[in-house]
């Protein structure tokens, strides 16, 4: 049912990077579509103050009596007390992109894709790029980035499989989601592992910086780059062969779906229980399920996964 009133907040890890901006577009779209008479607010902390900032915004949202907070959690379990307080105050906390590990205080988690699946996809991309055999290393965001850690773990899990026996995951370094650090780390990896054929970077900043670095050093034919990236940022490198394959889900859709779920929860049109199904506008019907990737917590699985190559990247970049 449309047109009900629910003030809602979309709270990304921090402001200023493309994926979150796209999620905002999706949410805006849903906001208009659902004719929510309440206010919709896209607000976030500064990158250097992300954790404290998210906690602060969560807390103030509670005292403001917001109906729902849509959180891409960057604070790990440090957000739990604030989230619990919000829940107690009647604010629905819906996480997207990155969940609350312990799931405490969280109504449910809108998962872009199955985290286990991400691991497999990354392993597969490595497999195909390296031709089934060779060394590769990972360039992650910060050591504390919960979902990057989860995905890398999932990937290593996947790598145990027969198929990947000849793939060697030699190293993990962190680029702190900053261009220059990631760039230098990528080069350091090249020097450190002369036989490395691929840098896998499950973060949009990292993959782009790594690709740029390989390109600038004319290493693209010896060291490929792959991981999770935004087509608009990666298109050049995919076309010139530095990053032949990379994957991502659609952040606009993620924002859209998240808004839908949150709206339904906030307006009590949905309880948020296992097995509950609901209909999310243009994206069709979804089911609430128990989150298999965490000990506790519910999730709505969005999917699917798009793997971008020379074929489809240009279209997506538009």
């Amino acid at each position: 049912e449309k047109g009900l009133k629910a003030d809602m907040v979309l709270l990304p890890k921090f402001l200023g990077i493309l994926p979150f901006d796209q999620a905002n577009q999706g949410a805006e779209e849903a906001h208009a579509e659902l004719e929510n008479t309440g206010a919709f607010l896209y607000t976030g902390p500064t990158p250097e103050n992300s954790v404290a900032g998210q906690i602060e915004i969560m807390t103030t949202s509670a005292s403001q009596g917001q109906a729902a907070v849509m959180l891409s959690n960057n604070a790990g379990d440090q957000i739990v007390p604030a989230a619990n307080a919000a829940a107690k105050a009647g604010t629905k906390v819906v996480t997207w992109d990155s969940p609350i590990p312990s799931a405490e205080g969280e109504a449910l988690f809108v998962a872009q894709v199955d985290f286990g699946e991400i691991g497999v996809v990354m392993a597969d991309m490595a497999y195909s790029i390296l031709g089934g055999e060779g060394e590769f290393a990972t360039l992650s965001a910060t050591p504390d980035a919960a979902n990057q850690n989860a995905w890398i773990e999932a990937m290593e899990e996947a790598l145990k499989g027969e198929k990947y026996a000849k793939l060697k995951h030699v190293d993990i370094v962190y680029g702190d989601d900053q261009s220059e650090v990631s760039y230098n780390r990528a080069l350091a990896l090249v020097d450190k592992h002369p036989n490395m054929g691929l840098i896998m970077s499950p973060t949009s900043v990292g993959i782009q910086a790594a690709a740029k670095a390989m390109q600038d050093e004319d290493l693209c034919d010896t060291v490929k780059v792959s991981g999770l990236g935004v087509p608009a940022e990666m298109v050049t490198y995919t076309m010139n062969g530095c990053a032949p394959e990379f994957a991502l889900w659609d952040f606009v859709d993620l924002g859209y779906l998240t808004y839908y779920v949150s709206y339904l929860l906030a307006t009590d049109q949905m309880k948020g229980e296992v097995g509950e199904t609901f209909d999310a506008g243009r994206m069709g019907t979804f089911t609430v399920e128990k989150d298999p990737t965490r000990d506790a917590g519910l999730r709505v699985l969005m999917g699917p996964f798009t793997v971008y190559t020379t074929e489809n990247v240009e279209a997506a970049a538009k």
Binding site: G16, E180, D216
Partner: protein, 362 residues
């Protein structure tokens, strides 16, 4: 003999030699730890990654020499990189040679704001730039509303420029970026050592009151310092844009502390009045070398890097302090106590004099 030499070439020479020795020591150490470490590739890597921080550090040094500090540099680099990117995306047609000029102009504008507040309104630099660090960054974020500059949107020549070599000797590739940085450093060095106007930077930092009394235009000098550091940050922003292509609002975050680090490790007195550009270059190189080498060092895990880095920086500074003290003592034939006396005196005096100025201003 040594005394004569030291005496002739002065404190800076002492500092620089010491730093250089430390640097060599580190290189030797790592080449014993990491196989195929000491080669042209190392040079290429370090030279490029130092280029940006070196530019900023030179600017920072100019400011610190006048007993001020510029903590807003990181934000300036970010702003320039971002806005320049925006401009280029909008008007790809701008003649390449004009672009760095524009960058420096934008940077200089930011510098002018700091300079005006510090030099003419006599506000303490550390407070002003701490504030502008935040203000400039928020200007960037608010004006960008979260969107980022992507490589695709930039003119081809810019991306190319970042990877063009000025010249190549064997495996040693010298990028234009590096040449620019070195040129800037050279100019700054000559200006500071050979021109009276440059020497007055030292005078002002050494004893502002005396500078005032001696008829030096302190305000102009301080203003100059901030303009230069702003402009150089702008240039750095240009290179940053060319090099990393994709610019988010976090661009340049933390560069201010890095630059201060390079400057102090480079033996510039944080209370102003003494230091040298060569030292600053060495300082910047030293930190960058440590950082990258530690990533490659198998013995320390990823998680140990910063711990080791911090301690090594401290050691480098400590060694520098010790050795230059000893050499200084031989030079002035002073006893330890006396040296402490004179050095301590000047250091304290410097801070106090400034404090006095603050008191006198109203």
């Amino acid at each position: 003999m040594l005394d004569k030499l030291v005496n002739r070439l002065g404190t800076n020479f002492v500092r620089i030699t010491v730093l250089f020795l430390v640097l060599v020591g580190i290189i030797l150490f790592f080449s014993s730890q990491i196989d195929n470490y000491l080669n042209a590739r190392l040079f290429n890597r370090i030279s490029i990654s130092v280029a940006i921080i070196a530019l900023i550090a030179v600017g920072q040094a100019m400011v610190v020499l006048t007993r001020n500090i510029d903590l807003s540099l990181g934000s300036i680099v970010g702003c320039v990189a971002y806005f320049l990117g925006g401009i280029l995306a909008a008007h790809p047609g701008i003649p390449p040679l004009l672009v760095p000029v524009i960058a420096m102009l934008i940077g200089a504008c930011f510098g002018a704001i700091n300079g005006y507040l510090v030099a003419y309104l006599k506000l303490p630099a550390i407070i002003v730039t701490l504030a502008t660090l935040a203000i400039f960054r928020s200007v960037l974020v608010e004006s960008s509303d979260g969107t980022s500059i992507t490589t695709a949107s930039l003119p081809e020549w810019l991306i190319e420029f970042a990877r063009q070599n000025a010249f190549v000797i064997g495996d040693f590739r010298v990028r234009w970026i590096v040449v620019i940085a070195l040129l800037v450093a050279l100019i700054a060095h000559i200006y500071l050592t050979r021109f009276r106007a440059g020497r007055q930077f030292f005078a002002v930092g050494s004893n502002p009151d005396a500078a005032e009394f001696a008829g030096i235009n302190v305000r102009r000098i301080v203003m100059q310092a901030f303009l230069v550091s702003g402009a150089l940050a702008g240039l750095a922003g240009f290179i940053y844009l060319a090099r990393f292509g994709n610019i988010t609002v976090v661009a340049g975050l933390g560069l201010e502390l890095k630059s201060v680090g390079a400057v102090v490790v480079g033996g510039v007195n944080i209370f102003g009045g003494s230091g040298s550009i060569i030292g600053v270059l060495l300082g910047a190189t030293l930190i960058d070398l440590l950082d990258t080498s530690l990533v490659r060092w198998a013995l320390v895990s990823e998680f140990w890097r910063d711990a080791v880095l911090g301690m090594l920086i401290l050691l480098a500074v400590a060694m520098d302090t010790f050795m230059s003290r000893k050499l200084l003592m031989r030079r002035n034939k002073m006893s330890d106590a006396e040296l402490d006396r004179s050095t301590a005196t000047t250091a304290v005096q410097s801070t106090r004099l400034v404090a006095d100025n603050q008191a006198k201003t109203p």
